[in-house]
């Protein structure tokens, strides 16, 4: 078993308190970072090969560099804790069991980008994480780790904890910013990008919870160590949320070089009841589905991409032979139809349409042209919208049908319209 890094405190009693967190070596990263030049912190993070762990996988240090040089406007650090991707529950664990790792990571990031105000945007359904993070922020403030002139360094940083109202789209970074600003959670047209004009019109960096929780380790133990944990293009370990038909579902921490097969069979004990694996979604519901012969891939940013899918939020959904893929597509399609913000025409109109078709197929009223209609509509809409939501929906629409077409055709063959 590899060393536990992000989950090292998960089994420690009261690790959510400042005392226990510090006893376990907490805030050492910050102690080091507060004496470093901001540019040196960013350089260290670049060298660590840390990639955004929310879903897009963008190099974190590079993202920080997009704030215009010489801008004197206030800068905001926004934590994306809206974890809404179906099949994903890693940030919830981090916030419930190790909230100070997030706060310490925020301090380091804030120093690197020159931000004095951070927001933690927590999804509305995450009541317990919100309570625990709020308490931890209070505790850190009272201990002088947040506020004005932190520990006499002259550096100011405060954190506002903000609860969302439970919309998937508010996990999209500009939708999140709109919501944070008090508006409807609609993604914004880009350009301008958030690093140039983000929350409240100011330069803003949006980072995921897990991404920030990596920072204390990178600073404490060095970029080379972190990079060495992973693959050539991505450093570190990450948290895989595994659900579905495995013997031991739950959170798995592993270096990003771990293969999908290892996660399913070694970490999670394989498929229960001696049944056969049918399909795996490797990176949250928006990732294209994989077949059993496609699971020998490293679970870094590049592995799933090589099979036409994506690592996304690393939410792994395992389906055994009892699952009906048309049923699964209908469930996923219902989700995207329900969660489309309705702003862009292709997404607003076709998520609902595709759900209706997929529902009709499952109800035994499929038509022979239905599958080609879904594929054609999905391909026409892909890449035409303000945000990546629709491209996320297209992942399952296309892959479920293309990889399991015969199962859909069988349903349609016996339908009322056949």
């Amino acid at each position: 078993m590899a060393e536990r890094i992000l989950t090292r405190n998960f089994d420690v009693k009261d690790a959510h308190t400042l005392r226990v967190y510090r006893d376990g070596g907490g805030y050492q990263g910050w102690e080091k970072a507060k004496g470093m030049e901001p540019a040196a912190i960013a350089e260290e993070v670049k060298k660590s090969n840390l990639r955004g762990l929310g879903g897009a996988g963008f190099p974190t240090g590079v993202k920080w560099g997009f704030i215009p040089k010489g801008s004197t406007a206030p800068r905001y650090l926004v934590v994306n804790a809206d974890e809404g991707e179906p099949g994903t529950f890693k940030d919830r664990y981090l916030m419930e069991r190790d909230p100070h790792a997030l706060i310490e990571g925020m301090l380091i990031a804030a120093r690197a980008i020159g931000s004095h105000l951070g927001f933690i945007y927590i999804r509305g359904e995450y009541v317990q994480p919100w309570r625990i993070v709020s308490a931890a922020v209070k505790e850190a403030s009272e201990a002088g780790l947040l506020g004005k002139n932190i520990q006499g360094t002259g550096f100011d940083f405060e954190i506002v904890v903000h609860r969302g109202a439970g919309a998937y789209i508010c996990g999209e970074e500009t939708g999140l910013i709109s919501s944070l600003e008090g508006k409807k959670g609609w993604p914004k047209v880009k350009p301008p990008f958030p690093a140039v004009k983000g929350a409240f019109g100011q330069p803003t960096i949006v980072n995921n919870v897990e991404t920030l929780a990596c920072l204390p380790h990178i600073i404490t133990r060095g970029a080379e160590w972190f990079a060495g944990l992973g693959t050539k293009t991505q450093g570190g370990t990450r948290l895989y949320s595994v659900s579905g038909h495995v013997v031991r579902p739950g959170l798995v921490e592993a270096p990003v070089s771990v293969t999908l097969r290892q996660i399913i069979y070694d970490h999670c004990g394989g498929i229960p009841g001696g049944r056969a694996l049918k399909a795996v979604v490797p990176g949250g519901s928006s990732a294209a589905i994989l077949t059993p012969d496609e699971i020998d891939i490293p679970m870094d940013v590049d592995g799933p991409k090589s099979k036409g899918s994506m690592i996304g939020s690393a939410g792994i959904i395992v389906m055994d032979e009892t699952v009906s893929i048309p049923d699964a597509l209908m469930v996923v399609a219902r989700f995207y139809a329900h969660e489309s913000c309705g702003q862009c025409t292709p997404c607003r109109e076709s998520t609902g349409w595709i759900y209706k078709i997929s529902h009709r197929i499952v109800e035994g009223k499929g038509r022979k042209e239905d599958l080609d209609t879904i594929l054609d509509v999905a391909k026409r809409g892909a890449g035409t919208t303000i945000c990546a939501f629709y491209d996320g929906a297209v992942g399952p629409y296309i892959s479920y049908i293309e990889k399991f077409r015969s199962e859909f055709e069988e349903l349609i063959r016996t339908s009322d319209h056949a």
Binding site: I169, E339, C341, G342, T345, P346, T351, G383, T384, I386
Partner: protein, 536 residues
């Protein structure tokens, strides 16, 4: 000023120009719904995609700024295919109720489907249903099923009127335009959302079901509701008298003028045209001797007026012009006053209640041509009386003839009793105007004027902009343009001024431009559609 190439044609556009406007400059139309030049960029409809060299995917033209050396294609196979897709997406949940939709004929779903759609429909499932025929304000009816959620109306209320009544509620394909609780769309400019709605979602409660739009004729006009002089299109129904309840003017629509009203028109102006087809219009000259009046022909009415004028000393005549008259009317009147030697001439009659005004379009002065009246010199001559003085003189029996143009004096800021006493105490009261009122009911001679949509001419707005309005419909009944009435009178009085031999408003205007420095260098035709600034 970046230079770029669009469909092989090089154009130079101002910094910050987006690709929709740049394409327009290059003669290419990029279809769009949510983009409107007056509103912020929404980027929602996704219809305006164009191809740009070195960019892998089509980009929305509305949110892409023209840059130096950019090479843009608006008609590639990929762009055309994308447009077809977007049209299908826009229409899958649309009710396709064109035969009963007021927007039919001027609907951009219809127009763009024919130009850019023409796909075979594939939607066989139940469409989304939403509220229909919901009145959301005094003037606007919402059909949420026809709405394509372009958000123009929402942005208009947020960004132009700053009243924020509208929002988009729900999400996904359940999204719908609606009012925030406790509000109604009743701001002073609410009708503009009907104009900017590209589809039949927001229709005009006043106009809906009155005339199919393809029966309408249009003329370039001006709103005469206040001193702004908003440019309008006058839409008339001349050929289907059984439609629109027999009224000839069907609606007014704002006409773009960057210097005056941009794209907009206030509701008061927009709906202030009903009087033109009202029963209160004066349609025949009237001669009232003793008790009841009798309709007479112009051939009898005007010689009667001329005879009475000839029987007066100049200081026994009062002329109350109106700032609702055109520059041409006012110039003809001034020349007539000069010929008669009448110095009791003015146009300023105080309103009963001060007009409302805002910092956008609406002006407190509810007359279209006060500035024109000033510039044409319609005021008391040396030793002459102003408007209040004329009224006082009439009341004191010092006038033998009082000629009132248009004013509803009994409803003015002057005490009604004083007005009626002035009428009572004057031997000859002439009322010339479009509509009956308490003065016309008592006047000895009533001369019906053509309404401003029934003739042509110019108004000078409060900024000093001289603007043309065109004839939309013929004069009602026997009514004549004011300048024509004045010409006949002037000619009969032996005046030789060429103004009185004019056959068209253009000739009167050109005579005015030659005589009055403020209009110097202007010609009627050169005023064009957007007008010219007077120099003064």
């Amino acid at each position: 000023m970046p230079k770029l190439t669009i469909n092989g044609k090089e154009v130079e556009v101002p910094e910050g120009t987006n690709l929709i406007e740049a394409a327009k400059a290059a003669g290419a139309e990029v279809p769009h719904y949510c983009y409107h030049p007056a509103l912020s960029i929404a980027g929602q409809c996704r219809l305006c995609m164009v191809d740009i060299d070195k960019v892998p995917r089509p980009q929305i033209a509305c949110n892409t700024q023209a840059t130096e050396g950019m090479v843009v294609h608006t008609e590639t196979e990929r762009v055309l295919e994308t447009r077809r897709s977007m049209m299908e997406f826009h229409l899958i949940n649309h009710p396709l109720d064109c035969p009963v939709c007021d927007q039919a004929g001027e609907c951009f779903l219809q127009i763009y489907y024919m130009k850019h759609g023409l796909y075979d429909p594939r939607m066989v499932d139940e469409k989304v249903h939403k509220p229909k025929a919901v009145p959301i304000g005094p003037h606007v009816m919402l059909d949420a099923e026809r709405c394509i959620l372009c958000s123009r109306c929402v942005r208009f209320c947020d960004e132009i009127t700053h009243t924020g009544e509208l929002g988009i509620f729900q999400r996904g394909d359940q999204s719908e335009i609606g009012l925030f609780p406790g509000t109604a769309l009743e701001n002073k400019y609410s009708g503009n959302v009907i104009d900017i709605c590209p589809v039949g979602a927001l229709t005009d409660r006043d106009f809906r079901f009155q005339v199919r739009v393809w029966y309408l004729d249009t003329a370039k006009g001006l709103c005469n509701g206040c001193a702004r002089g908003c440019n309008v299109e006058v839409h008339t129904n001349r050929h289907r008298p059984h439609h629109n309840q027999g009224r000839r003017v069907a609606r007014l629509k704002p006409r773009f003028n960057a210097e005056v009203n941009q794209w907009w028109l206030c509701d008061e102006g927009r709906y202030g045209f009903k009087w033109m087809d009202d029963k209160s219009r004066l349609t025949h000259p009237l001669h009232r001797a003793g008790g009841a009046g009798a309709e007479v022909s112009w051939d009898r009415a005007l010689p009667e007026l001329v005879k009475r004028l000839q029987g007066c000393q100049p200081d026994e005549v009062g002329l109350l012009a109106s700032p609702k008259m055109s520059n041409e009317d006012l110039w003809a009147l001034r020349r007539l006053a000069e010929h008669l030697g009448v110095r009791n001439l003015d146009f300023r009659v105080p309103p009963r209640t001060p007009g409302d005004e805002d910092d956008f379009l609406i002006r407190a002065d509810k007359n279209p041509n006060s500035r024109g009246a000033e510039l044409t010199g319609v005021g008391p001559g040396a030793g002459g009386r102003d408007a209040a003085g004329i009224l006082r003189a009439a009341r004191e029996r010092r006038l033998k003839l009082l000629w009132i143009f248009h004013h509803d004096l009994a409803a003015s800021g002057w005490p009604e009793a004083e007005v009626l006493a002035a009428i009572e105490n004057t031997e000859t009261v002439v009322f010339q105007g479009t509509s009956a009122n308490d003065v016309s009911a008592r006047a000895h001679l009533v001369l019906p004027s053509a309404a401003y949509v029934e003739t042509e001419g110019t108004f000078t707005n409060f900024q000093g902009r001289v603007q043309r309005f065109r004839t939309a419909i013929p004069p009602l009944g026997e009514s004549w343009p004011d300048w024509k009435i004045l010409s006949v009178v002037g000619t009969a009085l032996g005046a030789s001024d060429p103004v009185f031999s004019a056959e068209r408003a253009e000739q009167v205007f050109n005579a005015l431009a030659a005589a009055v420095p403020a209009f110097g260098g202007m010609t009627y035709r050169a005023l064009g559609d957007t007008g010219r600034m007077a120099t003064a």
